[in-house]
C-alpha cells in the first residue's frame, strides 16, 4: 500500500518536474535581460560584454565567436527581445534606472529620436575609423546637437513587395518577378487596383492588414506626425495622414486578410496562403522563411508603390552606464563594420547601411535559396536607391504611430469601430500623450 502511494507520488512529481521544464522552455523565448558585467578591468583582463538586440539581427553565435577569436580576453553574450516594442520599454526603463542595460544595445529607427533626447546618457562613439561608413542620413540622425556620434548604424529597411507565385497564377496574374515588378510599379492607387482585380477573381485577400500597408505609405511622408522645426504634434491635423488613413481603410475593406501583424494567425497566414502580397523590407525575408519553411512560392518583386520606401533599420548604442565603455565601443565598431554587416545580411537579410558594400559584388550577387535563388542583394540595393524621402521621426513618433496602428486595427481587424469613430479615438489617444 505504502509502496503504491509512493509510486503515485513519484509519477506525479515527475510530471510536475517535466511541466516545470517545459514551462521554462516556453518562458525562455521571452525577452530576458542580462546584468552588465561589473568591475572595471584593464583591457587584457577576461571580461564579458553583453549585446542586446531584438527580432533577428543576423548575429549568430558563430559570428560573435569570431570576435572572441580576435580578442581572446572578451566573451560576448547576446540577448534577444521578441519585438522592438519590448526592447524599447526595456531600454527606457533601465536608462531611467541608471543600470541594467547591456554594454551594446540595439535601437530601432522608430524610437531612435525619442532616445536622442537623452543622448547625454549615451557614450560618445565618434571615431576616425567610422567616418563616411554609412549613408549620410543614417549618420546625421545619430549625431546629437553637440556633434557627438552616439550610435553606429546596422541595417536599413528598403522595401520591395513579397508575393506568392501560386496565388498569382490562380488569379491569372504574371508570376515572373520582373513581370510582377512591372505590374506593381506605379503609385498606391495602382497597387490597390491590381488588388481589387485579384480579389474579384479569387475572392481571397490581397495584403495582410491595413496597418502593415499603412506602414509603407506613411514612411513616404516627409513629416507625418511632428513638425520638424518646432517639434509640435501635427498628426491629427495633417491632411496627408488622414488621406492615407482613409485610402488604406477603403482598400482593406475588401482586400485585407484582417490579420494583425506578428500575431500567430498572421504568421500562419504566410504558410497557408491567406494573402497574396505583403510589403517586404529586407529583414522580412528571414521572417517569412521562418514562418513558412515548407512554402516554395514566395518571391520578392523589385518594385514599391509610390516610389521607394524604408521600414525600420537599426543602430547600436553604448549606454554610458556600462562598465566597459571602450571595449563596448570597439565591439560595436566591429559589429557595424562592412565585413561583419555583410555576414549579418547573409544570415538574416538585414540590408546594410554601410555605403562601402553598395558596389560590393558579394552583396549585389547574394542570392536567397528560399526565394527561388533570386539575387536579393541586388534587388534591395535597387530598392535602397529608390528611397527619396528620409521621414522625420521626432520623440513622439513611436507612441503616435502605435496609436495609429491601433486605430487601423479597430476598423480592419476587430471591426469595433468605423473609420470616423476610430479616428476620434486616435485623436483622443494622441492628445492624452500630452
Amino acid at each position: 500500500m505504502l509502496s503504491r502511494r509512493t509510486t503515485a507520488a513519484a509519477i506525479a512529481g515527475t510530471a510536475a518536474v517535466a511541466l516545470v521544464l517545459t514551462g521554462c522552455a516556453g518562458g525562455s523565448s521571452e525577452p530576458t535581460s542580462s546584468p552588465t558585467s561589473s568591475s572595471s578591468a584593464p583591457s587584457d583582463e577576461q571580461i564579458t560584454l553583453t549585446v542586446a538586440t531584438f527580432n533577428n539581427f543576423g548575429y549568430t553565435d558563430e559570428l560573435l565567436a569570431q570576435y572572441t577569436e580576435l580578442h581572446p580576453n572578451i566573451k560576448v553574450e547576446h540577448t534577444i527581445a521578441a519585438t522592438s516594442n519590448d526592447a524599447r520599454s526595456n531600454y527606457f526603463t533601465k536608462l531611467g534606472a541608471g543600470s541594467g542595460l547591456a554594454d551594446v544595445e540595439a535601437v530601432e529607427i522608430d524610437w531612435f529620436a525619442e532616445l536622442m533626447q537623452y543622448s547625454d546618457k549615451l557614450y560618445d562613439l565618434t571615431d576616425p575609423s567610422v567616418a563616411d561608413r554609412w549613408l549620410s542620413w543614417k549618420t546625421e540622425a545619430a549625431t546629437d546637437k553637440d556633434g557627438r556620434l552616439v550610435a553606429y548604424g546596422t541595417d536599413i529597411g528598403p522595401e520591395g513587395i513579397c508575393y506568392r507565385t501560386d496565388l498569382f497564377e490562380a488569379a491569372g496574374l504574371p508570376t515572373d518577378p520582373d513581370e510582377v515588378a512591372a505590374l506593381l510599379a506605379g503609385d498606391w492607387d495602382n497597387y490597390f487596383r491590381v488588388g481589387a482585380e485579384y480579389v474579384s477573381k479569387t475572392g481571397k485577400a490581397w495584403f495582410d492588414s491595413a496597418a502593415a500597408t499603412y506602414q509603407g505609405m506613411i514612411n513616404q511622408v516627409q513629416a507625418a506626425y511632428e513638425d520638424p522645426s518646432t517639434g509640435e504634434v501635427i498628426a491629427t491635423e495633417n491632411p496627408e495622414v488622414r488621406a492615407i488613413y482613409e485610402e488604406v481603410l477603403a482598400a482593406s475593406a475588401t482586400q485585407s486578410a484582417h490579420l494583425s501583424q506578428w500575431s500567430p494567425d498572421w504568421a500562419a497566414g504566410q504558410a497557408n496562403g491567406d494573402y497574396a502580397t505583403m510589403l517586404c523590407p529586407g529583414w522580412m525575408l528571414g521572417v517569412i522563411s521562418g514562418n513558412a519553411p515548407d512554402v516554395t512560392t514566395w518571391r520578392v518583386a523589385n518594385a514599391f508603390p509610390g516610389g521607394g520606401g524604408n521600414w525600420g533599420g537599426s543602430y547600436l548604442t553604448v549606454p554610458a552606464q556600462g562598465e566597459h565603455l571602450e571595449e563596448a565601443k570597439a565591439l560595436a565598431n566591429w559589429l557595424t563594420s562592412p565585413e561583419v554587416q555583410l555576414q549579418a545580411f547573409l544570415n538574416a537579410g538585414t540590408f546594410p547601411s554601410q555605403v562601402a558594400l553598395y558596389d560590393d559584388p558579394a552583396l549585389l550577387d547574394a542570392t536567397n535559396e528560399y526565394f527561388g535563388n533570386q539575387a536579393v542583394g541586388g534587388i534591395f540595393a535597387d530598392r535602397a536607391d529608390a528611397v527619396t524621402v528620409a521621414p522625420f521621426k521626432g520623440p513622439k513618433y513611436f507612441a503616435i504611430n502605435d496609436a495609429m496602428v491601433q486605430a487601423l486595427g479597430r476598423v480592419d481587424i476587430d471591426g469595433t469601430d468605423d473609420v470616423e469613430s476610430s479616428w476620434a479615438k486616435f485623436v483622443a489617444d494622441v492628445q492624452a500623450l500630452g
Binding site: 503504491r4 502511494r5 503515485a8 507520488a9 509519477i11 506525479a12 512529481g13 510530471a15 510536475a16 511541466l19 516545470v20 517545459t22 514551462g23 521554462c24 516556453g26 518562458g27 523565448s29 521571452e30 519585438t83 516594442n85 519590448d86 524599447r88 520599454s89 527606457f92 526603463t93 536608462l95 531611467g96 537623452y118 546618457k121 490579420l259 494583425s260 506578428w262 500575431s263 500567430p264 494567425d265 500562419a268 497566414g269 497557408n272 491567406d274 513622439k396 507612441a399 502605435d402 491601433q406 486605430a407 486595427g409 479597430r410 481587424i413 476587430d414 471591426g415 469595433t416 469601430d417 479615438k425 483622443a428 492624452a432 500623450l433 500630452g434
Partner: protein
C-alpha cells in the same frame, strides 16, 4: 526563574529579574514578530508612501522629479475615459475568474476529500498547472485562442458553432484571460480547501448521517460553514491577485498593450503603459497605482462582509453543535 533566586541575593535584584520576566512576557512576542514588520516598512510601506509622493508631482521616467502639481494627476486620471475602461476590464476579469474558481475549487476539494485510490497522485495532479509559469500558460493559451487558426475556434467551427471573436470582443477576451487564471489557480485553492476540510471532525458527518442527512445536505450544512475562515482567506487573496492581474492580459496578444480598442487593458497594464511605454509619465502612473490600491481596499472590505454573511447563518448552527459536543465530552 524566580525559583533560582535565593535569600542571599539583594532584594533589588529579585525585583529587576521579575521586571525582566514581566517584560519578557509582554514584549518578546512583539520582538519575535518585528522582523516581518521591519521588512514590511522597508519593502511595503515605504514604496507605498513614496508612490503617493510621486503621484502629486510631475515626474518623468528619465528626467525624474518635476514640479509639485497637487492632485492634477488624479484629476486627469479620473477624467480619462481609458481609466474607466481599464477598471471595467479589471473588475470583469476578476469576477469571471474568482467566482467560478472558488466554486470549482470547493467542488474539487470535496471530491478529493472522499475515499480515493492513489490520493497523493490526484492531490499533486491538481497542483500541476500551478507550477507552470504564468508566461508559459499565457503563450500556450494565446495560441489556443488565436482568432482564425486557434484550436478552440477550430473545434467550434468543426462542430458547426460560430467562431468566437476572442480578441475583438471585450467580453470574450475577458473569458479567455479568466480561463488562464482559473487554469493556474483552481488547483491551488482546491488544496487549501482540502486542508481545511480535513480539519473538520468526522463525527459531525457521522452524526448528521445518522440523523438522516444526505451528502448534499451534509456538504451545505457542515462543510461550507466550517470552511468559513478559509473561504474568507481565499476570497481575499484572489481579490487582491485578481485586481492586480497583469501577466495574462499582457501576453494575450503580441503587442501587450491591451487590444486595439482597449478590450482587455487592465489597471496594472495602464500603469505600465503610462509610466513606461507611451511617454514615461511616472506622476500619472503613480496616481493610477494609488487609485488601484484604494479600489482593492474597498472591494476587499465588501468581499469580506459578503463572505461573512454568506456562511454566518449556518456557522451558528455548527457552533451550537460544537458546544453540545463539549458538554457530552465532559
Amino acid at each position: 526563574m524566580a525559583r533560582t533566586v535565593t535569600g542571599d541575593r539583594p532584594v533589588r535584584r529579585i525585583g529587576f529579574t521579575q521586571t525582566l520576566n514581566r517584560w519578557d512576557v509582554k514584549v518578546s512576542p512583539y520582538l519575535y514578530i518585528s522582523p516581518f514588520f521591519i521588512l514590511f516598512l522597508i519593502t511595503g510601506l515605504f514604496p507605498l508612501l513614496y508612490t503617493a509622493y510621486v503621484s502629486v508631482h510631475q515626474w518623468s521616467l528619465i528626467g525624474g522629479q518635476g514640479e509639485f502639481v497637487g492632485f492634477d494627476n488624479f484629476a486627469f486620471t479620473l477624467a480619462n475615459p481609458i481609466f474607466w475602461v481599464a477598471l471595467r476590464n479589471t473588475v470583469s476579469i476578476f469576477l469571471l475568474s474568482s467566482v467560478p474558481q472558488l466554486i470549482i475549487a470547493i467542488t474539487i476539494a470535496a471530491v478529493l476529500d472522499t475515499n480515493l485510490r492513489a490520493k497523493t497522485f490526484w492531490r499533486m495532479g491538481v497542483l500541476v498547472p500551478y507550477v507552470l509559469t504564468p508566461v508559459a500558460v499565457s503563450l500556450l493559451f494565446s495560441f489556443m485562442y488565436a482568432d482564425q487558426l486557434g484550436i478552440v475556434n477550430n473545434l467550434l467551427t468543426t462542430i458547426g458553432l460560430p467562431a468566437v471573436p476572442w480578441h475583438s470582443d471585450a467580453f470574450w477576451s475577458h473569458v479567455a484571460i479568466a480561463s488562464m487564471v482559473n487554469y493556474r489557480w483552481t488547483g491551488y485553492n482546491a488544496l487549501i480547501f482540502l486542508a481545511a476540510m480535513q480539519a473538520i471532525p468526522r463525527d459531525y458527518y457521522e452524526a448528521a448521517a445518522i440523523d438522516g442527512a444526505g451528502p448534499v445536505r451534509r456538504f451545505f450544512s457542515i462543510t461550507i460553514p466550517s470552511l468559513r475562515p478559509t473561504i474568507i482567506f481565499v476570497a481575499l487573496t484572489s481579490t487582491i491577485g485578481g485586481l492586480q492581474i497583469f501577466d495574462e492580459p499582457t501576453l494575450y496578444d503580441q503587442y501587450g498593450r491591451g487590444g486595439n480598442d482597449k478590450q482587455w487593458l487592465t489597471l496594472t497594464m495602464l500603469i505600465q503603459n503610462t509610466g513606461w511605454r507611451e511617454n514615461g509619465n511616472f506622476g500619472r502612473a503613480a496616481a493610477i497605482a494609488w487609485l488601484l490600491f484604494l479600489i482593492i481596499v474597498i472591494i476587499a472590505l465588501i468581499n469580506f462582509s459578503i463572505t461573512r454573511t454568506i456562511s454566518r447563518v449556518d456557522a451558528t448552527r455548527v457552533a451550537g453543535a460544537r458546544r453540545k459536543q463539549k458538554e457530552v465530552a465532559r
